[in-house]
Symmetry: C3
Subunit: 204 residues, 3 copies
């Protein structure tokens, strides 16, 4: 594994974990059994990256290449199901929002980074970043028969991903170290989303 | 760009605009902000063609090849959101139905045309045309948490696309000029759908 | 067609028919016209296998290679629509559950078998089997605006597919004849699912 690949792997691992936890939290609200919880977490954690790999024609899919991702989510689902059954009284809604924001931010930046590496034009690359960041949550909400959070929440969501992707493009443009660019941009999206959510910012 | 490619591009542009406007109208009903409107329009305008490109293994995807498509929808969303907020009291439901019928007709015909060019057998090619025409609207309705129009409307919808695709096959078969075949067949689907909708035709 | 290909084709045909009938039954409840019935059956019967073919990069898609599949579902939809309109008073809910269980079992086993043949690691291959088995029903339920049966039914569903896929891996491992391994494992999933459903087994 090259340095950049290892770096992207680490950023993506954070994204996978954030997305999976948002899946745990959301499926807990629906009072699902362990298989339902795993299914929702799986779809949330791997949906966005799979679509990205289809769009960029990357094979094998990232969760096929790193089989341990799936086993990790599998094991976490076994752990999370009994814990979440009690924890949801303790952990407030912000737990779900934060996990979802981590998935959004970190998947978006891995997405735009890989799209640029694949030679996509800049605007298309940022769109692919946003799609990668948003899509896992869309699948999670659609299979739970809800309007996706990207549509139902009037506080900035895709917008923070879009701006964060351009921030990453800018940092790459000025020659920042890849590690710095990746972590800062992803963290920026997550932080902006949380601030926007907390302060009830509205785009309307 | 060859003549045929330019022709297909023009027909597809009409389809993209029709689908995007149906997305504007539908997301307006749900009182969304500009990002929500863009998301819905994006999914409606590019969903069917992306699935078509996956089915036919065409790369790059049509909205990646023509980056301007995405920028156009982006700009239109910025314009449309404030306008639609007021216009939906003026423009009746028929505006949505007409935009949707244009997307249906023009995407179906581009789909069947490309499928035939890719060497698909005739029946499969017509099915792919229908899938291309229908799928954007299915995604639009699914992410808005509604039963897709292709299923909930008992007036002919997929049927008009199916018949129009066979009409196109017929015109190609008798050696009609490609331009004539494309525009006539696509227009025929849109017109038939609107007449069927207006007159409450039912297949039951 | 080699012997193994013919064998897989036969198992897959059972899966396609089971899935299609589950689509007929489910769309009948929603009182759809013949095109709606066909659309739902098409999506249910070909959705899982199409995703499998995308994941394994198999082209042409199985329903493109075997055009007769689509024509068969088309013809059956024409037949089934008027019949189901009356039969749903006679055929109880178990008809839908049984058809769905056949689709689940037989698609899962074809999926895991093709994934292993494509050189996927064992755990990934079993996950792909489950995804193939489950996905058609997920699409069916999502476009009908319901929570997918894999999530809403607390009786074992994906679990039976997962265990059945490992049973198939085991039989291949001990050198059982391919025909025996395929039919037994697929039948085992279907039977286990039905027993679990009948006896109200719960994973909670």
């Amino acid at each position: 594994m090259t340095d950049t690949a290892g770096l992207l792997f680490a950023v993506e691992l954070v994204a996978v974990l954030g997305a999976a936890f948002s899946g745990f939290a959301e499926s807990q609200r629906k009072d699902m059994d362990v298989v339902g919880v795993f299914t929702v977490a799986f779809v949330t954690a791997f949906g966005g990256g799979t679509l990205r790999d289809v769009l960029l024609e990357r094979r094998p899919f990232f969760w096929v290449e790193h089989e341990n991702y799936v086993i990790l989510i599998f094991a976490l689902s076994l752990l999370a199901t009994p814990i979440m059954r009690h924890a949801h009284r303790i952990i407030p809604n912000v737990g779900f929002i934060a996990a979802d924001a981590i998935g959004l931010g970190f998947f978006s930046i891995v997405g735009v980074s890989l799209a640029l590496d694949a030679g996509m034009p800049t605007f298309t690359a940022t769109m692919m970043g946003v799609i990668t960041g948003v899509f896992g949550g869309v699948l999670r909400d659609v299979i739970l028969n809800e309007v996706p959070i990207v549509l139902r929440d009037n506080r900035p969501y895709a917008t923070t991903a879009f701006l964060g992707c351009w921030f990453y493009v800018l940092m790459r443009g000025v020659g920042a170290a890849e590690a710095l660019a990746l972590w800062t941009s992803a963290g920026l999206i997550t932080a902006t989303r949380l601030v926007a959510w907390r302060n009830d910012w509205s785009l309307k």
